[in-house]
Amino acid sequence: MKLKKIVTALAVASLSSFGAMAQADQNAYADFPVTVKDYQGDAKHSVSYGGQMARHVLHTSLKKLAAQGNGQPNAELKAKMMAYFEGTDAGREILSPTSKGGFVIAQSQVDELSGKKNLAGKAYKGAVTSWPGNMTGAEVLAFMIDKASAADKGYDSVNGYDYAQLISKFTMGAVFYNQAVDNYLDEKLEADTKPNNKAYKDGKPYTGKEHVWDEAFGYFGVPAHTLELTAEQVYNIAKGKEDALSVADHNGDGKVSLYDEMAYAHGYYAAATDKSGKTDYLHTITKAFVDGRQLISDANGEALTDAQRAELKGHAKVIAENWEKVIAENVFKYAGSTYKDLQKITSILEAGGSVGDDYRNYIKHWGELKGFAMALQVSGKDLGETGVQLNRLIGFGPVLLGNTQVTGIDAKGNYLQDSTVTMDEYMLQMLKVQQLMVDEFGVKARSKDVLAGMEKLVEKLGAKAASAEND
């Protein structure tokens, strides 16, 4: 009798935990069934975004290489960087992320994720107005790579550039953000492009729309089971923290797969921003991706109706708007860091001191600011006046110690410097950049807010001034 009870209890417990697992997996961006009508192969699932993950590791590896110069022109380093940027050859090693202590990474070669992929072919094709030289996205990145290969650990103190930051932040925009919001979530959602009643390509286990949606998801750069994780956990996974292995390793093989268990690029920045507790970009965007994928899957290999496409575009809109906000939050944050660095530097200079690390930090933070600001402008949407203001406020380079700034490049690609504004005036411009992000993008997390405390004070003094009390 007793044994019977124990067995029943165990059965109930295991059934309910199985139920919980099934429930949990519904939230994952994985295991969607094959819906292609005439599919002959033996694939069990239709989700596929290996090419995007290969590009993520090409980017992280390129960032690592960008900080490896010795201050002299270095053709070998440049060629290696270009292999990750432009090349498609087999045999490229993943330079970052790599295993660290107990945080074991499953893949070590780019080809394990997808072969013959590069970044250059997918970079923004329009003119980049936030950088001198009237170049396309790919040309700007190639220009930066050339400069980085000759810089000292990616740092150019004379012109004020940190190339690892510039290349990394702009790649995220010009490749991942642009491809997702300007291509996959835009024209490829139209009825006559990549329809849902045909395989994406003959013999593939996924339909046109399924794969289009998967590719956009891949570029965002989050683990497939993100909806089961907190922003803090996703952040820790991207940082490769040893104790993050257990939350990253969803399939329990003891390793972190760079395909569906790692966080990259703007997915990582969404998590980092949400850690403040004031925003929920990570889950909002991921949920819209999961819901959109479910909608396509539910169409069961039939062409999407206009109503279904309208609903799908609704999810795409949520993704694009929140993705843009993630970038704007980081423009806000790094404008604040730059402001604070300048505050320190000008105080030290006034006191007659020397600015070693503070100047290096300033250039690093400026590089992040500039990279995110450049990324914000390559979504295919014309930011109009906002873009012009942003570029004028930030300029082509940071204001340097002699109050000069890079104002352009000559025909040979050398930087031109001129006196523009003082560091004090430039600080005010950084403040205005923050204000622009609040006014135009409604940023909420507002990390490194120069005017932190203002809203708290307004609240304390009585936010609702309109009380109509007489005297």
Binding site: L342, Q343, K344, T346, S347, M423, D424, E425, M427, L428, L431, K432, Q435, L451, A452, G453, M454, E455, L457, V458, K460, L461, G462, A463, K464, A465, A466, S467, A468, E469, N470, D471
Partner: protein, 333 residues
């Protein structure tokens, strides 16, 4: 939409009595009642019960004037709820002030480099209180001196009997002006202090309210609009406005006209020559004039008449100005 509006409205109404930030917070009302009863006992030897009865008399609390107060209160809450989101926000103006200072002075000092935290807090609390009190005095004075504003402010002065709720007997145009005054004062204080002291800036509070405002409210501020004429020691009445002094401000007696504009401090009136000390044993009559005019407490009259009167005042001021300009032009020739 309508549901949220109704629920917001009811919440705001309730907040007027439950939030220590509001003048008619129930705690302050109870404090005023106790202070009034103590005063009546000390000054006239009234018993506790009779003092209480005198203060809560239906002749005061259910007069036609008091009933108009309640109607105005209910209607204004709704109007202000709709208008206030349209007004300039403190944050926008404070940011602008901060940026202007940045442009004029250069970069702000590092936090902590000028003064220690406690003195920044004290200075901010005091500065805000003084600027706010001065702004209240100044706007109030203009409301009396400029005929086109007086047309609106008359609504407040048309009260014949006064209860603490008379503080909310305000024409909505005046309500908007008060809100803008408050925005300006907050923005100047915050913009200025945040620029010079950054993250050090904070307010000294009791129950979440500026400690000085709390002190003013808890020590019987609500008796200003009442029939309990508490006067202070004369030298103190040059520094702080007593309830009796504010009641003089509401008196129909011509020699009391345009006196005691101040809210908390009397020094502004003292400096501006409009101070009038309390008068012991002078019975006061409240209102615009001694004679009661037919319909003076009707809502229609109170809300609409000020617009025509203000327009006429502006038109006659315009004509007057044009005549003067024309005369000046003739003389120039």
């Amino acid at each position: 939409m309508i549901e949220t509006l109704v629920s917001d409205y009811l919440t705001e109404l309730a907040e007027m009595f439950t939030s220590p930030r509001k003048r008619v917070f129930v705690g302050y009302l109870v404090a005023a009642l106790l202070i009034g009863m103590l005063w009546l006992r000390w000054r006239f030897g009234s018993g506790w019960l009779s003092g209480c009865r005198q203060m809560l008399s239906p002749a005061i609390w259910w007069s036609s004037s008091a009933r108009a107060d309640y109607q105005i209160l209910l209607l204004n809450r709704l109007l202000m709820m709709l208008i206030s989101p349209l007004l300039l926000s403190q944050v926008v103006l404070a940011t602008l002030i901060y940026q202007q200072l940045h442009g004029l002075i250069g970069n702000p000092p590092l936090p902590g480099s000028l003064l220690p935290d406690w003195s920044v807090m004290t200075a901010f609390t005091l500065f805000f209180f003084l600027l706010d009190d001065f702004a209240r005095y100044f706007l109030h004075m203009l409301m009396h001196r400029w005929p086109w504003l007086w047309a609106f402010h008359k609504v407040h002065h048309s009260a014949r009997t006064m209860t603490p709720l008379t503080v909310l007997r305000t024409h909505p145009v005046e309500g908007v002006l008060f809100a803008l005054r408050s925005v300006l004062v907050q923005a100047i204080s915050i913009g200025l202090f945040l620029f010079f002291f950054g993250s050090q800036v904070d307010l000294i509070t009791v129950l979440g309210v500026n400690v000085l405002v709390f002190t003013f409210n808890v020590t019987g501020a609500n008796l200003r609009h009442s029939h309990v004429a508490i006067g202070y020691w004369k030298p103190l009445e040059r520094i702080l406005i007593s309830p009796a002094q504010h009641q003089i401000h509401h008196s129909v007696e011509p020699r009391h006209y345009d006196k005691n504009f101040g809210a908390v401090l009397a020094v502004w009136d003292w400096l501006g020559g409009s101070l009038h000390l309390s008068e012991r044993d002078t019975p006061l009559c409240f209102g615009l004039a001694a004679n009661v005019v037919e319909g003076e407490q009707s809502l229609k009259q109170l809300y609409l008449a000020p617009f025509t009167e203000s327009y006429q005042a502006l038109r006659s001021a315009g004509r007057h100005w044009l005549r003067r300009a024309a005369r000046g032009a003739v003389r120039m020739r």
